[in-house]
């Protein structure tokens, strides 16, 4: 790799010589400017990342008349929560005036069960595929992995047919089913990669002690699992909450999850755009994953890196 001179006399442990040294002063100056540059880059990008969020937060609290007068990007001169109340409970989208609350609860009713079921299945699958391998188990793992890469568009027609047969068209249960089946591949991948690092000897010892499949899972695997389960839950929750394609294809009107409802809300563009209400609606739709991210951000990043690098 790096060419290290074998006879280098430099000793990194030796403290720097003290006293004035023009070279050292120049180095300090260079150091200052390079620090400045680093922080300038970070600050610039932080602004680009934060401005859209601030704009939406401000506009959800400004009066519509003020937005119309001063544009979207402006220091707020009015402050009120009306837009939030309207967006939540009374704003009219295509005839019904119930705001986003129904869609919000639809999204919860879809996301929570789908997250729990797919995580449990993923944990069991991961446990089996790492600790109870059998002939062909690697093949099965790779097969499940393919599901991660499938474009959702491939499955649209088959799902439409299946949901129709099962009587789950235009229902939250249908979306739960879709997200569980689709999610198994992700959760299995995450959990399996995590459980692989648990020493097999631990399992072997337990088996010699007479512990069976479930007992080992309960007593050994599960207590070690919280880190990966948190990652999986966060990943699944945000992913399912944010999903749009299946929501817009398989549900309509009052059954729509919040992503589909948001698009319907912001698309009605004939009248003057009610930016205040739309901003509040957008924030309502973004809030659950944002909160989860703020409280579990550390795990979120871990999930990303684990899923991607392995």
């Amino acid at each position: 790799m790096a060419e290290i001179a074998p006879n280098a006399s430099f000793d990194p442990a030796r403290p720097n010589p003290t006293g004035f040294d023009p070279e050292a002063a120049a180095a300090t100056r260079r150091h200052f400017w390079s620090r400045f540059l680093v922080y300038a880059v970070l600050a610039l990008f932080a602004m680009v990342y934060l401005v859209p969020l601030l704009v939406v937060i401000f506009n959800s609290l400004r009066e519509q008349s003020e937005i119309a007068r001063n544009g979207l990007i402006s220091v707020p001169r009015s402050f009120r929560f009306d837009a939030w109340a309207q967006a939540w409970g009374s704003y009219c989208v295509s005839g019904t005036c119930e705001g986003m609350k129904r869609n919000f609860f639809n999204s919860l009713a879809m996301t929570i069960p789908a997250t729990i079921i797919s995580t449990i299945l993923g944990a069991m699958n991961g446990y089996i595929l790492s600790k109870w391998r059998f002939r062909g188990s690697e093949l099965i793992f790779n097969l499940m992995l393919l599901g991660v890469f499938m474009p959702g568009q491939i499955s649209l027609m088959p799902w439409a047919f299946l949901l129709g047969k099962l009587g789950l068209t235009n229902s939250t249960y249908g979306l739960v089913l879709i997200h569980v089946v689709q999610g198994i591949s992700f959760t299995t991948l995450f959990c399996r990669n995590f459980y692989v690092s648990i020493p097999d000897d631990l399992i072997k010892a337990a088996r010699i002690d007479g512990a069976g499949f479930w007992r080992i899972f309960r007593k050994i695997i599960l207590p070690l699992s919280p880190p990966i389960l948190i990652v999986t839950v966060i990943w699944q929750f945000t992913g399912i909450w944010n999903e749009y394609l299946f929501g817009v294809v398989f549900t309509s009107g009052q059954q729509q999850p919040i992503t589909a409802a948001l698009v319907a809300l912001t698309a009605g563009g004939t009248t003057a755009r009610a930016y205040d209400v739309m901003s509040a609606a957008v924030l309502i739709g973004a809030l659950p994953p944002l909160l989860i991210y703020l409280f579990g951000g550390k795990y979120f990043v871990r999930g990303l890196t684990q899923g991607a690098i392995k």
Binding site: I4, A46, Y49, I73, Y244
Partner: protein, 312 residues
Amino acid sequence: MSTHDLIVPAAAATTRPWRERLGTMVPILVLAPSIAASFVYVFVFTLWTLYISLSNSSLLPTYGFVGLDNYASLWANRRWNIAYTNLFLFSGFYIVGSMAVGLLLAIAIDQRVRGEAVWRTIFLYPLAVSFIVTGTVWSWLYNPVDGIQAFVRGLGWTDFSFALTANRNTANYAVIITGIWQSSGFAMALFLAGLRSVDPDLVKAAQIDGASVFRTYRRVILPTIAPIFLAVAVIQIQFAIKTFDLVAALTRGGPGVSTTFPAIYVYDLMFQRGQIGEGAAAAMMMLAAVAVVLVPYSLWIVWRRRAEGRNG
């Protein structure tokens, strides 16, 4: 475990075959529903869609075989060609752009900055919100009457022009910029994890040799995290191919058909125009695009694992 003693074999000798068989069965039984679901999802659904793409389905799936007719009429369609071209344009700029921004931010954060967690949180939060939210908000910012253009003009620069989404020639760049905004934090997180995994001795050695910071990154650090570049690129390409929500919320494919993407077009064919057969053909082309990226990548991964296994 401590309740069981180590004398099980003698005591359980008679029941052993039965218990053993059950023991080997339990994992497979537990796994079975997932295997079945995945098998149906991956293979049956794909073959099903493939079959529909070869049939004369219009409003409803029917099974009259028409060979490659749907593919022919798909590729003869100007809008599909625009969609496929857009996909390449978007993928290229989006991947290079978000990797460049992500790498820059990762390197900046890696300089032992204060408040690292705060910076990271700021750059990553867009990833937590949906493309729908991002696309909606940015469509407002791009709106020449209310958004960035109006803001800058209000500051006094009265002939400032920033109306990407209003012009068919520039609307794609609006999609690209928004995509980069949303996902450069993702690239940053992966690069940062990579930078942190570089052997510190290696970096120290380069510095002792008198290499500048720039040179150290270019010659020592970045080459060791090369696999991460590839991983990021592969994941981003997948995003790019599947992305439906971003365009749906940001430009809805317009102005005109200028920001049509394959994902949008599949949806239109299947659910707006009742051309299921051709829509299925378009979906198969999307799968083909994913496969073109993923098959070589997975082969490379397998090859690398084998090579690592050989070298110990």
